[in-house]
Symmetry: C2
Subunit: 356 residues, 2 copies
């Protein structure tokens, strides 16, 4: 294993220490328990938006903490869910009394721990809603999670909901918006190479010299097909059509209903990407992919979208939700309305996303 690390056990802590040293104007990092938060949190009157999950996907989530996006990020060990006590401590740190939205990627550990943290927070009179992101069309159910995995749409949901919070949306409005983003966003990824967890020291999975994994998850979970390397235009078309032509996916999601003060089951169905839709196209690198190659992916994606009558009104190209040094990419298409575009365009000032 060749990595720019010291002791494998210090990987997450030292990377966060580096972030704290680099961005004292944006973030603070708390250890024991570990979480990252906006220097100016709690922001008076504002709903706090929090996300978290295993480390190894940087810049997600800590790189998205700052004005216009997340109030806090809760990083676990590499590819391992953070614990409820981390989540609760982060919530207490950033709670301004207007409520907290947790954006939760659909992995069993994350879901369970965020629910537990939420129960604890409610027992301390905080208002908390958790919204699930489950946008990966590659695999419906797997060993790793029930339903679809949460991937690229998470980045977009964090930006859009973060902007909404900044603009004074209330908790329920932001939660509804987050559900809407999730039901309008779909992703699929692929890997050219595996990745190596620092603590393990050997690749998470094995790929032959000419093999790729289509539909690969962000923890190296198996996808739809192990196949031979193909021209990027073919790979891109497979990913894009996998997303665009996905049949309407329905799932029952357990959500907290504030008016009833109880959990309720909500039926959610993805909205179709029909011709004439406006989309935000996100081409994401897995961590070890050169930017030059992502632009070649985008080139073909734009052609496929045009052929399908989808108008790309915004795009994001770069490595934002990664799998350590894995080579590969994912595509996310988010069907956007004017409100989402306006929130996407709103100013953001974080370590990894900055504009406006």
């Amino acid at each position: 294993m060749k990595k720019l690390i010291n002791q494998p056990d210090d990987f997450v802590r030292e990377s966060l220490e580096g972030m704290a040293a680099a961005h004292p104007d944006l973030i603070k990092v708390n250890f024991e328990p570990t979480f990252v938060y906006r220097t100016d949190a709690p922001v008076k009157g504002k709903v706090a938006v929090i996300s978290g999950g295993g480390s190894g996907h940087e810049p997600m989530h800590a790189g998205f903490v700052g004005m216009g996006m997340l109030d806090a990020a809760v990083p676990g060990e590499v590819f391992t869910s953070p614990t409820p006590d981390q989540m609760l401590a982060a919530a207490k740190q950033v709670d301004a009394g207007a409520g907290i939205l947790n954006i939760v990627k659909n992995y069993s550990g994350d879901v369970m721990n965020f629910e537990m943290a939420t129960e604890l927070a409610r027992s301390e009179d905080m208002r908390v809603l958790n919204i699930l992101i489950d946008d990966d069309v590659a695999v419906k159910d797997s060993l790793y999670t029930q339903g679809r995995r949460g991937v690229g749409t998470t980045v977009l949901a964090e930006k859009i909901c973060g902007a909404a919070a900044e603009q004074g949306y209330d908790l329920q409005q932001i939660a509804d918006l987050c559900v809407r983003v999730n039901c309008n966003g779909r992703s699929m990824g692929m890997a050219l190479t595996s990745c190596t967890l620092p603590a393990k020291g050997s690749p998470t999975f094995e790929l032959g010299d000419t093999e790729i994994e289509m539909g690969c998850g962000i923890h190296g979970e198996p996808g739809r097909q192990r196949m031979s390397i193909a021209p990027v235009d073919e790979i891109t078309e497979t990913l894009a059509l996998g997303i665009i032509e996905d049949s309407a996916y329905s799932r029952t999601v357990r959500q907290w209903d504030e008016s009833q003060g109880d959990w309720v089951d909500v039926e959610l169905t993805d909205l179709p990407l029909e011709s004439g839709s406006n989309v935000l196209a996100f081409v994401n690198g897995m961590g070890g992919t050169p930017l030059s190659e992502l632009y070649i992916v985008y080139r073909k994606l734009a052609q496929v979208c045009e052929g399908k009558g989808l108008k790309i009104v915004r795009n994001l190209i770069g490595s934002y939700i990664t799998s350590l040094e894995m080579q590969g990419c994912s595509i996310t298409l988010l069907k956007v309305d004017d409100e989402m575009v306006k929130l996407w365009d709103a100013p953001v000032k974080t370590a990894a996303l900055k504009w406006g």
Copy 2:
């Protein structure tokens, strides 16, 4: 070779087509000859800043074209200098009559071709000055170039000189500023892995499973030492001290003197990084390095700088001058004065750098 490409020969063109499709608000791409330019160029009354060089270092340079940075970028084939006719065509496209500054990395082909393009431009009554970047302390002379190689300081020079042009500095002022940045900036890099040129299909150089190349160049050129992988703190300290403790480097540079209308030899000497200096610290990924690891490098770099009495007043962390999918990093320290900091902070709007 596993890459997200179609035909190797189409790599550069298709990547640029993807950029053009993604950023029509920022850039246009011309083919035959190939160059990338600001949509709003020529910008009336403004000195035009141009840079260029071989492809494979993305986002440099095309990702830096836009308001507050470059007016045009001239990409060659992978790791291959662009041609004088490309450079001349770019100059004509963006020339607003206030003169052109070419920022040239010190590689023999780039230097020669930019000089040739400049002669041609002058014969068409354009005012052009070329300033060399030669900041890599690892190797003084090599097979690949005379003197030091041009690496990370290039990114900083493009930002700072681009801001100066935007603020109305005249050509000579910007050229002088660029020289000052170059004499105050020093870099050193290292590689964990090699990289593979699309057209070649096999690694540029060979590194064993536990070997690293200290002082590696951005084309995989040999550095100071082939050694065993070490903890990142040791690697970072070696790079940082290599930069900080470098003996004052002097070189004779051939520069065009507008008042004499002729080339003159100028003696330039690096300024020392003495205790008490303010620095901009740039931790750069080589293309295949996860951001998490770059932050671990930054963590140690901040400690080394503090120990040496250097105050990091600005930083940049990410993959900005890369070597395809190479894993590794480089460090650049630029001693800054108030003027440089102000220009660094000035608004920039390009595909790869955006703020203000």
